[in-house]
């Protein structure tokens, strides 16, 4: 609703004047980045942000009453929709959850909302869309002035209702995914993590978005749900119509719209070939990740949903190197998870992973939308703002609940805890003091916890990497988070497609930082792992192996590929490759050098995917 400047000749909303898009029957192919492997064939559902621009259109006096009627009709329609939704949700998720829709239906009927809009239509003789948008803005401004953070965020309820009415006024039908029975590909300009969680089941089988870098949340979540995804396709939502047949090829990063029967058949057989290839990869499942010259590596899994545990085991993970605990918060939002809910989750994870380790990262409601939804903070520059450990320490009560649960769960399995986004020693000391306080509390209450629980930190801020030697004295282990480390040290917004080409994991600065961290860990005798995306890339894995990295943690499905690399490599060769790579001056030089070295030392085809 930000832009209200209407072109001089605009007589209606821009949606109404836009001619109906003709159905395009031809085959079209669009190129993006494949971020989650796999192939999905289904019909397009375009998720549009409902913030269509609204124009002010003067109406004639004799048309005022029909304009008011139009508004009343849209209210009635919205109310019916909401009550229907309430019934449906109540059946699937329970009355308590569904009651929000009843509250929304009440807002639709509330005269203090509807009368204001009608008054505005009548007194200003304007179109209903404009009057509604104005009233909505006034109401939202009042919510924004509330002191109570949670209630202030409830502006979302008013916005949700007003948006629904606006949509109905503009004659656009809502998509309710639960009504769809065929397979669906979600197309959107961008998806937020909470969107992706709602799309995590049938009928949704794949995604494609306009925005997003290789390591955006959309891609990470798509990967963890094993749903093919292609991102970075410009103008996607303008080029494809709802209900068109779409093939998402997450291997090649392409979208094929309106494929012929022959193409569909070809892709279906490709799915079978990939399944066969995966089956072959899984043959190494029971083998250890050890180089030809007997250098032992541990390959672990990054997961964020409990359901992924079975995949971790299936792909042969030796432990969980990163459990992202954010999703418990998102699933409980707007309420916070209780200590018991945290405890049960961590206990079951630790027990299922034992005897291997299970590293739980405390909540990192990162950068963008999550923080706003759960915590209610708004920042101009969230990536450099309140996130990671800073966020934990700011909301210390919330944090204590999680830490208490972690300490209680630490007597089960082989649980470790890890703090995200540490930038200096002071922060580490503060959080360790907090942990000591909680230990004392638990002791006083006679509640069991593991006194030797290992506490480690993520190394993902350049300052932390630079002082890894100092941090190593006070930390039990390190885990290098390359996604953020790359974005912070190269000043690249990882979801900005204008600069994402500069996202270069083999940048000499990165290799030096990573080497420094690994060396500092070795010197202090603490384990160093890497849980960033970089660890799951076959080409990079060779370099990381050579830099001395011994624990690689990645998406479960990447484990067999990396294990093949490790098993066909000689540690001695990798060390040499890393040494020489460190002498190169640009990411490109390094990449060319590594590709060339790999080609001469590894069996053909092993790393072809990376090259």
């Amino acid at each position: 609703m930000s832009s209200r400047l209407a072109p001089a000749n605009a007589m209606l909303t821009d949606r109404a004047t836009r001619p109906p898009v003709p159905t395009r029957k031809d085959v079209r192919t669009y190129k993006g980045f494949g971020v989650s492997p796999g192939i999905a064939i289904g019909r397009a559902v375009i998720i549009e942000r409902r913030e269509a621009s609204v124009f002010r259109v003067p109406i004639r006096e004799e048309d005022v009453s029909s304009e008011v009627n139009r508004f009343l009709e849209s209210l009635e329609k919205t109310r019916e929709e909401l009550l229907e939704l309430k019934q449906k949700v109540s059946r699937s998720m329970g009355d308590e959850y569904a009651s929000i829709f009843e509250a929304h239906a009440m807002i639709v009927r509330d005269p203090s909302f509807t009368d204001k809009v009608i008054q505005k239509i009548e007194s200003e003789q304007v179109n209903a869309e404009w009057a509604l948008a104005e009233v909505q803005e006034e109401l939202q401004a009042r919510f924004q002035s509330f002191d109570d953070e949670y209630l202030r965020e409830r502006v979302a309820d008013v916005k949700d209702v007003a948006d629904r009415v606006q949509t109905n006024l503009q004659g656009i039908a809502h998509h309710e995914l639960s009504e769809i029975t065929h397979d669906v590909i979600i197309l959107a300009d961008d998806l937020t993590p909470s969107d992706t969680i709602h799309f995590n089941r049938r009928p949704v089988i794949g995604f494609a978005t306009e925005a997003g870098g290789r390591t955006s949340h959309t891609s990470i979540i798509a990967k963890s749900l094993f749903m093919p995804a292609v991102i970075g396709v410009p103008r996607l939502t303008k080029m494809i119509d709802n209900d068109e047949m779409v093939i998402v090829d997450g291997y090649e990063g392409t979208l094929i719209v309106n494929p012929t029967q022959a193409m569909i058949a070809e892709y279906q057989s490709r799915v079978l070939r990939h399944e066969e290839a995966e089956r072959r990869l899984l043959e190494n499942r029971a083998e250890p990740a050890v180089t030809k010259d007997n250098h032992r590596i541990a390959l672990q899994a990054n997961i964020e949903l409990v359901e992924e545990l079975k995949d971790a085991i299936r792909f042969g993970a030796e432990g969980i190197g990163l459990y992202r605990s954010e999703f418990l918060y998102i699933s409980k939002s707007p309420l916070l998870p209780t200590e018991e809910e945290h405890f049960q989750l961590y206990r079951s994870l630790a027990e299922a992973t034992a005897p291997h380790e299970c590293v739980i990262r405390t909540f990192d409601l990162g950068g963008r939308k999550l923080a706003r939804e759960v915590i209610g903070s708004k920042e101009d520059n969230p990536v450099l703002g309140l996130r990671g450990l800073r966020l934990c320490m700011k909301h210390v009560d919330m944090f204590k609940t999680q830490l208490r649960a972690l300490l209680r769960a630490s007597v089960f399995g082989n649980l470790k805890i890890m703090f995200p986004l540490v930038s200096g020693v002071q922060e580490l000391r503060q959080v360790k003091t907090l942990v000591r306080e909680i230990r004392r509390e638990l002791d006083e209450q006679g509640i069991a916890h593991n006194p030797n629980l290992k506490i480690g930190i993520m190394i993902e801020v350049p300052s932390a990497a630079m002082i890894a030697d100092i941090l190593a004295e006070e930390s039990d282990f390190f885990s290098i988070g390359t996604n953020d480390l790359i974005q912070y040290s190269l000043a690249i917004d990882r979801s900005n497609e204008n600069v994402s080409y500069l996202y270069e994991p083999l940048h000499p600065a990165l290799l030096r930082l990573i080497k420094g961290v690994i060396d500092a860990g070795k010197h202090a005798g603490i384990p160093v792992s890497m849980c960033g995306e970089m660890a799951s890339d076959p080409l990079y894995a060779v370099v990381l192996l050579g830099l001395g990295l011994e624990i690689f943690s990645m998406n479960p499905s990447s484990i067999p590929v990396i294990k093949n690399i490790v098993r066909s490599a000689r540690y001695r060769d990798c060390r040499r490759i890393a040494e020489l790579a460190l002498l190169k001056k640009t990411a490109q030089e390094i990449e060319e050098f590594v590709i060339e070295s790999v080609a001469t030392r590894f069996p053909e085809g092993l790393i072809s995917k990376a090259i």
């Binding site: 308590e96 009651s99 203090s112 919510f143 209630l151 707007p334």
Partner: protein, 89 residues
């Protein structure tokens, strides 16, 4: 006309779900119901009015009922608020 000061005790305060329950209860009675927080007074049968009071946990509100069934109305409203709107915490 009778009135009573009541403290909001549920964790999330008078948000949409709680406000909807309050309106439901108020609407069952013939009496007019007014709810006041600070200087602001709203219709107890208007969900938006109640939301705009911004009554978070710990807020003190005054509930005024006026009409033939005012006693019962006030009692039921008090019960609802004291039961924390049956919110799952």
């Amino acid at each position: 006309m009778i009135a009573k000061d009541i403290e909001i005790k549920n964790k999330l305060g008078l948000q949409a779900r709680a406000a909807a329950k309050l309106v439901h209860t108020a609407a069952r009675f013939k009496s007019s119901i007014k709810i006041k927080k600070g200087d602001e007074e709203v219709d107890g049968k208007s969900i938006l009015g109640i939301l705009l009071l911004a009554a978070g946990r710990g807020a003190m509100i005054t509930v005024r009922a006026n009409g033939e069934d005012e006693q019962a109305a006030l009692e039921d409203i008090q019960k609802l608020i004291d039961a924390k709107f049956d919110e799952v915490e």
